[in-house]
Symmetry: C2
Subunit: 313 residues, 2 copies
């Protein structure tokens, strides 16, 4: 198993990325081989400092795509960047997964155009973990990849999210809720109204109906589906709860769980190979968790299961 990792992506790269690699290798009993993409001299220096010698392969990628660069333009012009090289090795089968905390847009564009969607998937999606107030976790998707959606997209997000919840989060028969502004069928905007019957008739998911804003933190649905506009607002609002409570000196383990660093990164669901997008503020723990997530996605053959699910449609 070969996992590719962009060492140059993120606000605290490359140091925290390499520290994450060290954490992973120290804690893992049978670690995967890690392909590290970045500037070779810098990388060798850090690997030496952190005494990392095994299970790694350095791939020279002297360019970096900055956080504010235009994704498509940057990917085209910087073919020697860590993100471009990472996607190239994933696309050619040299690696089995790719992780980066770099330019989010470039990661999305790369995932969609270098790796491509699973056959039958109209629009890949990204999700995020939402900490439930009873200690469990929910999956919210889409959180920004698809700002405008059709009902069929939401229906597919529900399938992708259910498979992720089942195989990665370990939730049997995950309950799918449609995020809406009322409980009953027929409520909502045009998109939600049209999506409800599709979800209801979808035999591959366990649809429980509409859920409202007040249910997001409750243990009502495991997979919470909406278009990427609403999902992104919810995600960033939820993220802000961690910083707001920190600023106010409100310390409680529940709000600590809104520190999205704990969750590693966001997988792009619906593309043919595992691609994980890290938060710009990722530190060592995030990088370690993203490597573990990539490993789990490969081990459970999540993408294979998604392919089968969409073949039978």
């Amino acid at each position: 198993m070969n996992i590719g990792l962009d060492i140059m992506g993120g606000d605290f790269a490359p140091r925290e990325a390499v520290k994450g690699v060290q954490l992973y290798l120290t804690e893992s009993k049978s670690p995967a081989s890690l392909f590290l993409f970045g500037d070779e001299p810098v990388l060798h220096e850090l690997l030496k400092e952190f005494q990392i010698t095994e299970h790694i392969k350095v791939v020279h990628a002297p360019q970096v795509i900055g956080m504010n660069e235009h994704p498509t333009k940057a990917l085209k012009e910087k073919q020697q960047s860590s993100i471009s090289v990472g996607f190239h090795l994933l696309a050619t089968g040299n690696t089995d997964a790719f992780i980066s905390a770099g330019n989010t847009g470039a990661m999305m564009v790369g995932a969609l155009f270098s790796i491509k969607a699973i056959e039958g998937v109209q629009r890949p999606t990204i999700g995020t973990i939402i900490p439930k107030e009873n200690g469990k976790t929910g999956l919210l998707l889409d959180v920004g990849l698809n700002a405008d959606c059709k009902p069929e997209n939401l229906d597919q997000f529900a399938i992708l999210g259910s498979l992720y919840a089942q195989h990665i989060l370990g939730i049997d028969s995950p309950r799918v809720g449609l995020i809406n502004i009322g409980e009953e069928e027929g409520k909502g905007n045009l998109l939600a109204q049209a999506s409800y019957p599709l979800l209801k008739e979808n035999k591959e998911i366990n649809f429980i109906g509409n859920i409202e804003g007040r249910d997001l933190l409750l243990d009502k649905a495991d997979v919470m589906v909406c278009e990427g506009f609403t999902g992104n607002i919810i995600l960033k609002f939820a993220e802000s709860l961690f910083s707001v409570t920190q600023d106010k000196n409100i310390h409680h383990e529940y709000f600590d769980r809104f520190n999205f660093e704990n969750y590693g990164g966001t997988p792009v669901l619906g593309v043919a190979k595992p691609v994980i997008i890290g938060h710009g503020i990722s530190k060592a723990k995030s990088f370690k968790n993203m490597i573990l997530l990539a490993q789990k996605m490969i081990e459970t053959d999540l993408m294979g299961k998604m392919k089968i699910s969409f073949q039978t449609k």
Copy 2:
């Protein structure tokens, strides 16, 4: 000044509504005349109990529209209900404002069809107060009246919200932010993309650009504009923070401000007369605050200012 109040609306009516009246009359130096709509014998009993004798006029309304009744159907069939009677007296000029914590749908339908929109206003809206982390308050709108919107609607919400923020919340030149999933112009879903230039060119508002989910609790914009789907999800998510923190025994004055009871009710903005919709869980303090809000809306002639603003367009 005559303010109409539905005594039968809300989970804790009629007792808490009458208690609210008592609070208002006790604390107010020059109270308005209150028209109380409800079952006369019940009302007289309560008025006696709370020793309320002055500044009130009881209007018999023996029927009640239940919380789960179909709004349009109920308004048509129950013409002697407190909500129907309340709107009738407002429409005929016997009262200058109407307040109810009863069936929200019936209140909205009543506001739109008995009172009608201000000329030029395409779609009236409802907003809510969002407690900012620095102690200030923001206004979020729409929060559910308009699940699907056009760019022109958002542009009008910005004007209505700005006038409310200025005259009722006392904010000079309120900063208007467009709720979006990115900071730069051009980001967002089709609606947000098309709304941005309208807001930018609108000389009646102080538009500061896009705001994201993470900015909702920060003091970035005073008036936060979006369609009613996203707004309703944000509102109910924000409301849930109060109960979640209560359940977890996290007590902090900031989260106490998410107890929406403090704010009284939600005015319907863009209709020709003041209509205030209370939360179903309204207690005495809410009712008092709603009466005070109605009084302020009348005293500042908010609706008159809105009319002028839309006349000049």
